[in-house]
Amino acid sequence: MTAVAPGARTRRGRSGPRLRRAAVGWGFALPFTALFVVFLAGPVLASLLMSFTDLRSADVRNPFAVNIVGLRNYVRLFEDELFVKAAVNTAIFVLLGVPLTMVAGLAAALGLNSGLTRLRTVFRVGYYLPVVTSIVAVAVVWRFLLQPDSGLVESLLRLVGLDGPNWLGRSDLALPSLIVMAAWRNLGYQMVIFLAGLQAIPQHLYEAARLDGASGWQQFRYVTLPSLRPTLLFVGVIATIGYLQFFEEPLVMTRGGPLNSTLSVSYHIYNQFGFGNYGYASAMSYLLFVAIVLLSILWFRLLRSSEEVSR
């Protein structure tokens, strides 16, 4: 299905009649558009429609013969204690995870950007490594590292005379452990974007600041941070969108436990899908979608106002 349609007949291109131009344009765009509509745009719409029905796994072969239940699925969400728990966990994950990852990513970028030249590639590759590796493999290793008695983290803590807890087995520590792991896994990605942002800051700004006697911290505070604001906000949007959907970490590390302390909204959707409650799962996924759109709009507002300020 490659773009063969705009073949030999369109030799005169733009000078040809309108119809031919449309045919050529859609000839290039159609393969993508068809796949895109069938497998992405269509399902997005279908999901919305499903969320107003009582579609269950038994109806899969006949998805149009279901009852319309209006907003009942959405009302049910707020009576679902597990959903509320999952929403709170997800909020904590975003509120703690996004800043933690951004601070770590920025710190790594600043470190690599200041003077380290020869070994920069080695460091960049190393810090980026967790980003490109499969979460399943990461989970295999981390579950072992975090083991209460024999894990490497435990032996490191013993070196300084501490006794490590059962990180993933305690309901108050499992979520924080996953947050730290997510930060570890994603900071390399942010570091690369921050590095690009840092390198785009004109050197003369620093020279001027130095002439004015600005200290290192003052240069960071009054030159680096303001210049980096668009980058910060971009990274913030991407991290927020990603972390709102966090799911793979608890799936492979804790199965949502202990006591649902690491159950996330996406995980709950996945479970409801597994139980066959398709309509309900769709309603939940739409609520997540709305949350993502609202938070993104918030970030973009911030982005725009900050650009106005810096000009």
Partner: protein
């Protein structure tokens, strides 16, 4: 690491503490050196924290099960053994999973390269009705969480009778919104005059696209190709749901299913399996990291 001889030179890129008034210079310089040492120590510690787990995984995959279980945990294998790998590729069906992962990731990557670059060409160099609407649709879908399409996609695949086929693993991902966005952004930087003059010379649009525009897009294609391949090599949730028999498992799915519950296999096998999942992408990443970093820095695509 900076040598002592360079200490007199002002720090290179963006010094945290830089020479102030001439009177205080010696103090500052010593403080700079301390700062540099501290910085390097921190960076190396960070590097160990990032790479250490993978290093341990690689080393331990050559240990016997008993040695892996030693308390306290050790780093260097006392006795190197390939037993884990032998079992992985002999008793377990890791060759099949490896093949499935490679096939799915390759097909998805090829699809995205072809379809996204074609639509990018249409969106930047051709005028046709519906162009703006199409771009709006693509842009609007970037924010859609994967869970939204999950259930309808599953229903669709089931109704098409495609459950547990390669088609189910590949088809839904052949045309990604981010890829289209990336190609469109890049093709904007290709001057329209180039395309126009080729048209005047009588070249067909297909010929212009293949012979002129695509070769100029090599950096964008490289970035898109690598990123798509990695994302789908590691892809996990969707294959976990639609691949229902072992002959269709991808590597992450097999590893996930073998790592918990009744199917759980020995830890050494899990570590060796993780190495098999991770090593190809690490090699690809190290070899191609220039394209990679450039692609990420310019698009934000992961």
């Amino acid at each position: 690491m900076t040598t002592p001889a360079t200490k007199a030179r002002p720090p290179v890129a963006k010094p945290p503490g830089s020479p102030g008034g001439p009177a205080r210079r010696p103090v500052r310089r010593r403080r700079d050196r301390v700062a540099t040492v501290v910085l390097h120590v921190l960076l190396v510690a960070g590097l160990l924290a990032m790479v250490g787990p993978f290093l341990w995984m690689l080393l331990s995959s050559f240990k016997s099960e008993a040695e892996i279980r030693l308390v306290p945990a050790t780093w260097w294998p006392e006795q190197f053994t390939l037993a884990n790998y032998r079992e992985l590729f002999g008793r377990l069906d890791f060759p099949t999973y490896f093949f499935n992962s490679a096939l799915v990731a390759t097909l998805v990557t090829l699809g995205n390269l072809v379809f996204c670059s074609a639509v990018g060409y249409a969106l930047t160099k051709l005028r046709f009705p519906g162009r703006r609407a199409l771009f709006g649709l693509v842009l609007g879908s970037v924010m859609v969480p994967s869970m939204v399409t999950f259930v309808p996609l599953f229903v669709l695949i089931a109704n098409l009778g495609l459950t547990n086929t390669y088609a189910a693993l590949v088809l839904p991902f052949l045309a990604g919104a981010l890829g289209a966005f990336l190609m469109r952004q890049f093709m904007f930087s290709i001057p329209d005059e180039l395309v126009e003059s080729a048209r005047v010379d009588g070249a067909s649009e297909l010929r212009i696209f293949v012979r002129i525009v695509l070769p100029l897009c090599r950096p964008a294609l490289a970035a898109l190709g690598i990123l798509t391949f990695l994302a789908h090599w590691n892809s996990f949730i969707w294959p976990l749901v639609v691949a229902t028999t072992e002959d269709k498992y991808t590597l992450p799915v097999a590893l996930a299913l073998y790592s918990v519950g009744q199917n759980q296999i020995k830890f050494g096998l899990l570590l060796a399996g993780s190495v098999v999942v991770v090593l190809p992408v690490v090699i690809v990443f190290i070899v191609l990291q220039r394209h990679f970093v450039r692609g990420i820095a310019t698009t934000g695509l992961k």
